[in-house]
Structures are given as structure tokens and as C-alpha cells.
């Protein structure tokens, strides 16, 4: 016996749930195979069920459990007085909090030192914004000036060292720069010429000029160690 479309609709869930007997199942499929109205309906409902069965549960908001507990059990007890203070302190007794506090304190010390705060004679006035700005400005300029001077000193010392090195090289290889013997000059006779070549003389002048610059750039060093020497050699 062929089923009607109404029968197909009424038994659709039984068919999809696998609850139809074999003969009913055959009759159901025979009708759906031939019916243009029922075939798409069965396909749609079947696909809808497959989709709904893989749909996942939505997440409940995390606060919901606490809201329910507050509504049913009442607000949770909160400590007051010393108990609250103790609870607060106990909450801080952790390694993570200790590390955090240490790093914050270290950062503060570095910042305040950089801003010119005097730890030996601490003054409240040093913490005023205007004073902090002035100290910071002074510190920045001081650091910049010191840095510039240091770089200049290094440059001068480096230049002197290179000159001295070149000079030493000249002294160790005198034949390369010494004047060749004049064929006209008699042995044991002088012709009044200087012993050094013009090149050697120029180098000596250069060294002297550099030492003068060094003396000007490094007055303390020069004063302590080398003033007598420079005084002898400088005109």
C-alpha cells in the first residue's frame, strides 16, 4: 500500500530516528522516491537534524554562577576591621608580589637618582614638579657635556698615539729617511746644514703642536704628570 504525503509527514521523525519497521520503512522510501513534494522535505529535515546535532553548547557568562549564588545564598561574607587588613596582607604574601614590589622600588630609586634626588640629604622640595624638571634638565646637560668632553679626549689621545707610533717607525728605519751622503762633501767637514730632513722637522713640529693641544684639553693630567716636561719642551 502506498503512503500519502500526510502519512510521510507524520512518520518523518520515526523514519529519521530509525524507529520504523522494515515494511513501513520500505513504504516510506517508495513514496519519497516518487514524490516531488516529500523528497525535498525529508532531505531538508534530515540535514537540519544533522546540523543541530553538531551544534555546540554556548558558554554561560562566568559571572552567572556567582550571581545565582548571591541571589540564593546571599552576598558572600566580607571581612571587616583587622580581619580585612590581615586578609589583605595575607594576599600579598607571595613570591610574585615580592618580586613585583622589588622591581617597582628599584625603578623608583633609579628614576629619582637620575632626576637628581639626593639620598644623603633628602628634601621634600626635590619632589616638586618644577624642581624635578630643573634637576632633570641639569642632569641631561651635565651628562651631555661630560660625554662630549670624553669623546674629545679620546680623539686627542688617539691622534697623539698614532703620531707617536709613526714617529717611532721613522726612528727604527733611519736609512729610509736619512739624507744620503753628498759626493761633494768631504768626510769630517760640515756644511752648516741641519741634521734632520725637512720631513723629520715637520713631524717634530706636529708632535709638539699635538702635545700643546693635549695640554690644553687635559689640563689636570698635564698639570699633575707632565707639566715639567712640557714646560721644558714647549717654547
Amino acid at each position: 500500500m502506498m503512503w500519502t504525503c500526510e502519512q510521510i509527514e507524520a512518520r518523518l521523525s520515526d523514519y529519521l530516528d530509525g524507529a520504523l519497521a522494515a515494511t513501513d520503512r520500505a513504504a516510506f522510501e517508495a513514496h519519497v522516491g516518487d514524490c516531488e513534494r516529500c523528497a525535498p522535505l525529508v532531505a531538508h529535515v534530515s540535514q537540519l537534524l544533522s546540523g543541530m546535532h553538531v551544534m555546540e553548547q554556548v558558554e554561560a557568562p562566568p559571572r552567572l554562577v556567582y550571581s545565582i549564588l548571591d541571589k540564593t545564598l546571599g552576598p558572600r561574607e566580607s571581612a571587616t576591621g583587622w580581619a580585612a587588613v590581615l586578609g589583605w596582607v595575607r594576599g600579598m604574601a607571595s613570591v610574585r608580589f615580592a618580586y613585583g614590589a622589588l622591581s617597582v622600588a628599584g625603578t623608583l630609586v633609579i628614576l629619582l637618582s637620575a632626576l637628581g634626588f639626593s639620598w644623603r640629604k633628602p628634601k621634600l622640595a626635590d619632589l616638586q614638579p618644577v624642581n624635578i624638571y630643573r634637576n632633570a634638565d641639569r642632569q641631561v646637560h651635565l651628562v651631555y657635556a661630560k660625554g662630549t668632553k670624553f669623546v674629545n679626549d679620546l680623539r686627542v689621545v688617539s691622534e697623539i698615539q698614532s703620531r707617536l707610533r709613526q714617529d717611532n717607525d721613522l726612528q727604527t728605519n733611519p736609512e729610509s729617511v736619512a739624507p744620503s751622503a753628498s759626493p761633494e762633501k768631504q768626510p769630517g767637514r760640515t756644511d752648516g746644514s741641519k741634521p734632520a730632513t725637512p720631513r723629520q722637522q715637520n713631524r717634530a713640529d706636529d708632535v709638539r703642536r699635538q702635545i700643546e693641544v693635549l695640554a690644553n684639553e687635559l689640563p689636570l693630567w698635564a698639570g699633575r704628570l707632565s707639566v715639567p716636561m712640557f714646560a721644558r719642551r714647549l717654547p
Binding site: 521523525s13 546535532h53 555546540e56 554556548v58 545565582i68
Partner: protein, 189 residues
């Protein structure tokens, strides 16, 4: 479950931690039923709170011999949802689904491929939109059977109607929902 019955006993003896455990166990399931029924996260949250408040007040009337605690809580939920539906019928006519608060899909879905996840998200939104257009009788039957995966006997107990009525509502609900989705232009994949 036996554990639920024991927890209820502890609750009735004044054990607050037992109640907390019961709430944690069932909150997500109840929230899901409410969300699927209303299609609105905020309403679902408020209704879930109401459900547990009512369960807490009437916990003494629960008898484990008559069925599982989960079934009992679901029955309370269903009654509240129907009350809520009747109460808000007029408001709903002017409301739009666009106002619904978005809710977060299950974190377990993170294991799926992005394209699968996208399709599943689309399907979920479409089914949700279709469900809200179903009559409440058919909607609750479909939610309990196809989204909560409950057995016919449990649904019969929750809805307090004969088995034939449960089957008929589920069947009509599925067909109606499929037609609604078709009218919405949802193509089967």
C-alpha cells in the same frame, strides 16, 4: 544522577558548598536551554537566575524517586520559560533579534578548522533565528530533543504530556523549523 541526589540531601541539611556544586554542574545546561528558547543572552541570564532561585526555594519538594535532579530542574526551567513567553508576548512583537546579546560559542570548537567553525557558527545563528519563530510548544520540544539530546521519556516527564504528544510536537517542530529555514533562504549543505 546519584551524586546530584546526595548533593541535594546535603543542601537540605544546610551545606552551602553542596548547593554551590549543584549550581556549577547545571548552570551551563540551563543557560543553554534558556538561550535557545529566548534567543537573547541577557534574558537567558536573568531566566537562569530565576530558575535557580525557584529551585533553591522548592528544593525540599524534590523527590529523587520521581526522577533525576536534572530532569526536575529542566522541568522548572520549562515552566518558567513558558511563563516568560506569555508575559513578554506583547513586548516581543516590537523587539528585534538584532538586539540580542551575542554569546560565546563553546571553547571546544577551537579544535575545528576555521571554515568548519564558520559554517557551524552560521548554522547556529540560522537555527537560533528559526527557533524563535516556532510556537513555544514546538520550540521547547525541539530544543530538548535535538539540542539537549534528551530521551523521549525525559521530555515527556519535563513537559508533563503523553508520549504521543511529545513525539508529535518534536516531529512537527522539526518540519516547521526546516520550512522556516527554507523560507529564510537557508540552503541545505
Amino acid at each position: 544522577m546519584e551524586q546530584d541526589a546526595q548533593l541535594v540531601q546535603h543542601c537540605l541539611q544546610g551545606d552551602a558548598s553542596a548547593w554551590e556544586e549543584l549550581v556549577r554542574r547545571h548552570t551551563r545546561r540551563i543557560f543553554n536551554i534558556c538561550y535557545r528558547f529566548t534567543g537573547n543572552g541577557t534574558e537567558a541570564e536573568d531566566l537562569s537566575q530565576e530558575v535557580f532561585l525557584r529551585v533553591y526555594r522548592t528544593l525540599g519538594s524534590y523527590r529523587s524517586a520521581h526522577g533525576g535532579f536534572a530532569t526536575w530542574v529542566t522541568s522548572v526551567t520549562r515552566n518558567l520559560l513558558i511563563d516568560h513567553y506569555r508575559r513578554t508576548k506583547r513586548d516581543r512583537l516590537t523587539d528585534s533579534l538584532d538586539d540580542a546579546m551575542p554569546v560565546v560559542e563553546n571553547k571546544e570548537s577551537a579544535g575545528r578548522r576555521p571554515d568548519q567553525q564558520l559554517l557551524l557558527g552560521e548554522l547556529s545563528a540560522q537555527v537560533q533565528a528559526g527557533l524563535t519563530k516556532l510556537s513555544p510548544d514546538l520550540r521547547e520540544a525541539v530544543i530538548l530533543r535535538d539540542l539537549q539530546q534528551l530521551e523521549y521519556a525525559e521530555i515527556q516527564q519535563i513537559l508533563a504530556v503523553p508520549e504521543g504528544t511529545v513525539k508529535s510536537r518534536i516531529n512537527r517542530g522539526r518540519i516547521e523549523l526546516a520550512r522556516i529555514l527554507q523560507q529564510m533562504g537557508v540552503r541545505p549543505t
